[in-house]
């Protein structure tokens, strides 16, 4: 009993430490200029999207380009719930009356947006049930593109490629932070649940896990649904960060940015998702400033659009080549704590490894 309590406390260390890290960075950003604060808010939004994507991709090991679909659902549905009814009537005259009259605050709209994304993920679940590896990658990419085409043409609801404007752009570090912390807690709760362990077992070896009675499809669906919920909320935050939405905001570009953050941080741990988001956000902001040009003390720079993309691409490339596990390489923050507390498990594992191979 006592051991279990220690394991629980130590097991929540990654969430606690990740949260602490986010808090410190956000606190530092609060001291900075308005631009810095806006970047920090964007970082928190990306954090929610990355943690959401991590819940599925990290635990299942199935690469998904499709999670931006859930972000898109969350973003557009939040926009439709929180915009001024008068503005909605003017921009989207063909919208059903009850949607036009809906006027929620962001905090009330986000869980609804998450649930809508969750519903969409249930429709998508056959994809993860039947496919893995490359086929899953291509299928999720195809899903992303078709949803993007639909968003770009569904004039009655999304205003097509013109996009929606006039979403309250009121997201601040303070209002975004609780959602990211919530996402981290939810991700950890799933990760240490029985389903999370079973899913990670199937990630390491799907056939072996299945032979031990793990129903891979079921566990993947559970992770997908939770993951979509978080991504939907992330999408809603994103809409309130941007203030305007076009199909291009929820396209392959966003997918790649989220995957870049996850891979550089470390795809196989929650701490990796958080650290990657922070690292890439800070790097990208610095690069944007270089790209825009200007005077940096003794050095004067001309504007060079493209530098951000080149450096971020090189970061991804070098990560993949030199440290494929990312910054965290599958470890969680505070993993030493966990190891110390579960020494019994370690001992047992050593015995199993030391036992002679049968036959």
């Amino acid at each position: 009993m006592r051991n279990r309590a220690i394991t629980l406390v130590a097991g929540s260390a990654p969430a606690a430490l990740s949260t602490l890290l986010v808090l410190v960075i956000s606190g530092l950003a609060m001291l900075g200029s308005e631009t810095t604060q806006r970047t920090a808010a964007q970082m928190l939004v990306m954090g929610v999207i990355c943690v959401g994507t991590y819940i599925f991709v990290g635990n299942s090991g199935v690469l998904s380009f499709g999670h931006v679909v859930f972000v898109a659902v969350g973003a557009y549905s939040t926009a439709l719930m929180t915009m001024e009814p008068g503005l909605k009537r003017a921009l989207l005259p063909d919208l059903p009356g009850w949607i036009v009259d809906l006027h929620l605050g962001m905090a009330a709209a986000l869980p609804v947006a998450g649930l809508l994304a969750l519903l969409v993920s249930v429709l998508c679940s056959p994809l993860v049930l039947r496919l893995d590896g490359m086929a899953a990658g291509i299928a999720s990419l195809a899903l992303l593109i078709s949803v993007n085409v639909v968003i770009g043409n569904w004039d009655q609801v999304t205003r097509g490629s013109q996009g929606i404007v006039g979403i309250p752009a009121d997201l601040t570090v303070g209002t975004a932070l609780p959602w990211l912390i919530g996402a981290i807690v939810l991700a950890l709760a799933y990760q240490v649940s029985a389903s999370g362990f079973r899913l990670r077992a199937s990630r390491e070896d799907a056939v072996a896990a299945a032979s031990l009675g793990v129903r891979v499809g079921r566990e993947r669906t559970i992770a997908l649904v939770i993951s979509a919920f978080v991504c939907g909320i992330g999408g809603g935050l994103y809409a309130h960060f941007l203030g305007a939405l076009t199909p291009g905001d929820v396209s392959l570009k966003l997918t790649l940015l989220a995957l870049l953050m996850l891979i550089v941080g470390g795809l196989r741990s929650l701490s990796g998702a958080v650290i990657g988001t922070i690292f890439i956000s800070v790097l990208a902001e610095l690069l944007r400033r270089v790209e825009a040009g200007g005077d940096f003390g003794p050095i004067a720079l001309a504007p060079h659009p493209g530098i951000e993309q080149v450096v971020l691409a090189l970061t991804l490339l070098f990560t993949l080549l030199l440290r494929p596990g990312g910054i965290t390489s599958g470890r969680e923050l505070g993993h030493r704590l966990v190891r110390r507390s579960s020494r019994d498990v370690e001992t047992a594992r050593t015995e199993i490894v030391a036992a002679p191979e049968p036959g």
């Binding site: 690469l63 056959p126 994809l127 039947r130 496919l131 590896g133 490359m134 086929a135 990658g137 291509i138 299928a139 990419l141 195809a142 899903l143 593109i145 078709s146 949803v147 085409v149 639909v150 043409n153 056939v207 392959l252 790649l256 995957l259 891979i263 060079h304 659009p305 493209g306 530098i307 951000e308 993309q309 080149v310 971020l312 691409a313 090189l314 991804l316 490339l317 993949l320 080549l321 494929p324």
Partner: protein, 290 residues
């Protein structure tokens, strides 16, 4: 109807060039090369740089530059990553794709640029009441020659036979003495050459260049490969022609309200195929890997 067929054949040839370039690498090393689109971009901008030279010279230089770019990608990024999982390779190719796009953006700026490579190819001829663009004829003809050339190369030369062996079973081929580096580098070279030719035709058709111009072609290439069946070389070419036929027919006969959703339908179709016929329309299922 016949007009549509010619269009489909021309479009299909373009898709086939792209799809084969991708399928070649996929069948040999399990790499889904997203950066193939950027090879096309490099080809497009090279063509712009050599604009003014005689067309044949410009095309030859373009092929040379793109092949060099493909070989560089192989040497610097994919060779160190060889043996990694398919997902890692895919992300490596994404990184390369972003890198080249960023580089082009840095050098050429984001604004679209136009280039006219057509010259006399812009004209069209009347055959039995149909208007056939000379460009369409050139695309169909050149692609035909290249496909036959590739088939000959794969059947009749030692390197080609080694490539087929590697595509069948890479590990086994290596064990039997096939030199992996040489085979993979050759595959990248051929893939680059196909990308260069595709770039020339693509630019000739559209006349515009942007840093992200490679995205749509590479996605269509993937679609063609999935249609034909993952990992089978010639099936990719068949898939390309089927895809072109589908999209031309959908364009021609879809009610106007739905025409805008054509691409969505095509990509949803891909998902359905992957779900129910993961080895392509005409594919043969392979044994379950345990």
């Amino acid at each position: 109807m016949a007009q549509n067929l010619i269009n489909a054949l021309s479009l299909g040839s373009l898709y086939a060039l792209i799809a084969l370039g991708i399928a070649l690498l996929f069948s040999i090393m399990g790499l889904i090369n997203f950066a193939h689109g950027e090879l096309i971009t490099i080809g497009g901008y090279t063509l712009l740089a050599f604009h003014g030279l005689p067309l044949a010279v410009a095309v030859a230089l373009t092929v040379a530059v793109v092949v060099a770019a493909a070989l560089t990608m192989e040497r610097l990024a994919f060779r160190p990553a060889r043996g990694a999982s398919g997902e890692t390779l895919l992300m490596t190719s994404f990184a390369l794709s972003l890198l080249v796009q960023g580089g082009v953006l840095l050098k050429e700026g984001a604004d679209p640029q136009s280039v006219n490579v057509l010259g006399s190819l812009g004209a069209s001829v009347d055959v039995g009441g149909m208007t056939i663009g000379k460009l369409d004829v050139a695309i169909i003809g050149v692609t035909g020659v290249l496909l036959i050339g590739l088939a000959w190369f794969l059947r009749a030369t030692p390197l080609g036979v080694q490539m087929r062996a590697a595509a069948e079973d890479f590990t086994m081929a290596r064990a039997l003495g096939v030199r992996a580096d040489r085979v993979v580098a050759t595959a990248f070279g051929v893939s680059g050459a196909f990308a260069a030719v595709a770039a020339v035709f693509l630019v000739a058709r559209t006349g515009t260049l942007t840093p992200s111009m490679g995205l749509t072609p590479v996605l269509l290439g993937f679609v063609a490969i999935v249609l034909g069946g993952l990992g089978r070389l010639w099936a990719a070419a068949i898939g390309a022609y089927v895809l072109a036929l589908l999209s031309v027919m959908l364009q021609a006969y879809l009610p106007t309200g739905l025409a805008a959703y054509r691409d969505a339908l095509v990509y949803l179709g891909i998902i359905v195929i992957l779900l129910f016929r993961p080895h392509g329309i005409a594919g043969r299922p392979q044994g379950v890997r345990v």
